[in-house]
Symmetry: C3
Subunit: 150 residues, 3 copies
């Protein structure tokens, strides 16, 4: 039986947390747009008009949200590929759930301390590192499972 | 039977539109390079030589194409993951085709009005929103299918 | 039988090279952080303290590593989706191995000549083009396999 089916609880759990992680990333995209309107700071002349009183300018609040967004892309998108391939190694359900939940919590925390309520370090560094440790473990599990495929 | 097989028309349709979306994104990457040569604007000293008359400088035409490219990464890459997981929920073929085609049309339109022929708003805003609404629907479908996996 | 299983050597090979490509991308992320500390150049006020003698400033060495990282995201993430869908077309194992290895070698080379030992062109251009040719071939294979799904 294929492991990539909703009958496999590891796949079902991954689908659920992947959707949570992506809606969190979309929230950061919406936050960027909202901050642009709030600070009247846009990137294109055609985005500025009298109603939004927009100017083409760089605003530090907008840039902060954009950095949080880019960091999501750098970390969450690789996680989605890694976790999908990890499912194919037929992992223990408890281990997989622990990894998916830890990564999700770390990335929600990362967004919160970076772009919602700016928090002193090491709040963001720790969130980042926990997420990357999950990614490194997934890489390790995949490489050792398929080492003979080199 | 697994849903992730070319015999499943939802999977086949997804594969086709995913390839279209990615070739569109690669086109924007090539457009960036072409605009760099046309405007002699590069990012690295080693890219500049007498033949291309290049300088390390920022050019607004190049930046516009790069913003279109980054927007593709922010929207198309999450869509690819979401649509793949959505297939696992065994959706209706007609609904899935409608969603995949709508998203593809929205992103082709987004690139055209942003980076090919600069078009007044709300052309780009509408293209963006239609794509994001498809992503939100996919997230909703996945979360409700796997709600018991929390 | 599903093609998305560790018993399919094409899938096993893909999993292995995908993990290699992602650990290479994570290495570039760590290199960015390391260069920030080495050059005392950070993006956020809360990242600067007496111990790291950091300032919020733009440093060309950091920017170079960041460009290498962004280029990875633009090329490797689409490859991961394309290669995954290509597996569903039941390709020849030898062809698939050749494509996965070529892409992996091209991207390791790209990172090396861009961000580790800065190398004159056309070293980086060739690495980039070889990777993109693999992506274009994968798109071609997927589109022709599923052409009837339009």
């Amino acid at each position: 039986m294929s492991l990539y089916t909703s009958h496999n609880p590891v796949f079902a759990t991954f689908s659920f947390y992947a959707a949570l992680l992506i809606i969190k990333t979309l929230f950061v995209a919406f936050l960027t747009g909202w901050t642009r309107f709030r600070k009247h700071a846009f990137q294109n002349p055609e985005d500025c008009n009298k109603m939004n009183r927009g100017k083409v300018k760089i605003d530090e609040d907008v840039e902060r949200v954009r950095r949080a967004h880019l960091n999501d892309l750098e970390n969450i998108l690789p996680f989605l590929s890694l976790a999908l391939l990890y499912i194919g190694t037929d992992p223990n359900l408890g281990t997989a759930k622990f990894l998916f939940r830890t990564f999700t919590a770390a990335r929600f925390s990362h967004t919160f301390v970076y772009a919602v309520v700016v928090t002193p370090q090491p709040a963001r560094a720790l969130s980042y590192i926990v997420g990357q440790l999950v990614n490194l473990y997934l890489i390790y599990a995949i490489l050792t499972s398929y080492a003979s495929s080199l």
